[in-house]
């Protein structure tokens, strides 16, 4: 058990808010891996993702006195997610990334499988399926990818995601659904099908 878990995160947060750098380092250490994994899923793993997380910690430390929320984790994810998306936009402006399709309006399409294949529900832990999911994630618009990850990997609820991404709940709903549907379509295109639940 970590020191933070043993002594209570709120006590560490209070100390960090009063300017105790040691307490902040302990708190940051608790979220370091999850935050990096999240940013690496948005940006791709590597030095850029590491820099984004480190910069997010520095930024969080500088503004910790102004932090008034209750979830330090959500706050860190907000800072890091926004930095990651800003970096993607900057890359796109510099022509390092192709322009990505804007969020479509209207009902997204459900691709139908060419032929009946294995049930999607049997794929948990299937390496090939996970590889397909990762590729599908990488092709989503950055904002959609970030929101889908915040929901399905990090487990934030819609309201938290709306705060993290500074968007409306309706936008969050739409992005989550479109993102999931795109991943589902990628899986279906590889031959998996769903069964009636």
């Amino acid at each position: 058990m970590s020191r933070v878990a043993a002594e209570g995160a709120s006590a560490f947060l209070d100390r960090a808010r009063r300017g105790d750098p040691k307490a902040f380092e302990s708190l940051a250490g608790e979220h370091e891996r999850a935050l990096y994994a999240h940013v690496a899923r948005i940006l791709g793993p590597g030095a850029d993702a590491e820099d984004v997380v480190q910069d997010a910690f520095v930024s969080a430390w500088r503004s910790i006195a102004a932090f008034e929320g209750t979830s330090f984790r959500a706050w860190l994810f907000r800072i890091a997610t926004n930095r990651a998306i800003d970096l993607i936009r900057a890359r796109r402006r510099r022509g390092e990334l192709p322009l990505e399709p804007a969020d479509e309006e209207g009902e997204p399409t459900w691709a139908e499988p060419a032929a009946a294949g294995p049930d999607l529900a049997t794929l948990a832990g299937d390496r090939e399926a996970i590889a397909v999911v990762e590729i599908a994630l990488a092709t989503l618009p950055a904002e959609q990818r970030a929101v889908l990850l915040l929901r399905d990997v990090e487990g934030f609820d819609y309201e938290e995601i709306a705060r993290i991404t500074a968007t409306q709940i309706g936008t969050v709903k739409s992005r989550i659904h479109r993102g999931r549907l795109a991943v589902r379509n990628a899986l279906v295109a590889r031959g998996w099908t769903g069964s009636a639940g």
Binding site: P21, R33, F57, V133, Y158, H177, L187
Partner: protein
């Protein structure tokens, strides 16, 4: 009735309002297509949750606690100094006790209250002792302790009777605290003894000529003990500071 479409994910995530949720449930009960899509979305969400996590190649937590550059050298220096002061204290105490009862008294002198009485006149003399170039010799010379810090009697005796012989007699009969001081004065020419009426000159005399009668190192062994403790304290503080990061 319209199919659920985009509401399926919100339903799956429990993000619908109660009324919407009830409507969705009644629709799902009668719509095989929406049930299938819901199952596919659920399976997709579960797969997404298992996407492996990349690991950073280095620590990403910024080092906010910075140890100033001077802390570690100060810690080492203070540790060595503390050890040296302990050695000097031991040597000093051994020399002092080697003198017999006198040394013991000189050790206890400041604690027995004489120190407070002698504090005022002693202060300038100790300053003189540390400031003087002969202070190194003073360390090895016995006299300063009784004469300067609490052997207040010695200069007084000198002032009253500058004759060396009288001093020696006084030294034999008086407590050991005044012994070294008296002995130092004993080798002083009578003329100098006459000028020793003021406390400060008497110290100068002690420093100048008292070496042969070595009794203890420095003013008092307790000084070395105090310095050792002070250095240990500095070591401790610097150590805490260095480990704070």
């Amino acid at each position: 009735m319209d199919h659920l479409g985009p509401s399926l994910s919100a339903y799956l995530d429990g993000a619908l309002e109660p009324a919407e949720r009830a409507a969705a449930e009644s629709h799902l009960a009668g719509c095989e297509r929406c049930r299938r899509q819901l199952a596919e979305l659920r399976a997709t969400a579960r797969l997404l949750a298992t996407v492996p996590a990349a690991r950073p190649s280095r620590s990403l937590v910024p080092r906010l606690v910075v140890v100033p550059a001077w802390v570690r050298p100060v810690r080492s220096l203070a540790a060595v100094t503390s050890g040296l002061f302990v050695l000097v204290f031991i040597a000093s105490a051994a020399l002092a006790t080697g003198l017999g009862g006198g040394g013991r008294e000189s050790l206890l002198g400041p604690l027995s209250g004489a120190g407070t009485r002698a504090a005022q006149p002693a202060a300038p003399k100790e300053l003189a002792a540390t400031g003087a170039p002969s202070s190194v010799r003073g360390l090895a010379s016995p006299a300063p302790a009784p004469a300067a810090s609490f052997g207040f009697a010695a200069p007084q005796v000198t002032a009253v009777s500058p004759q060396p012989n009288a001093l020696q007699d006084a030294a034999r009969t008086s407590s050991g605290a005044s012994g070294p001081g008296a002995a130092a004065a004993s080798s002083t020419p009578a003329g100098q003894g006459a000028t020793a009426g003021a406390p400060v000159p008497s110290v100068a005399v002690s420093f100048g000529v008292a070496e042969p009668t070595g009794a203890q190192l420095g003013p008092t062994p307790l000084l070395w003990l105090a310095l050792a403790l002070a250095s240990a304290l500095v070591t401790f503080v610097a150590h805490r500071r260095a480990n704070a990061a």
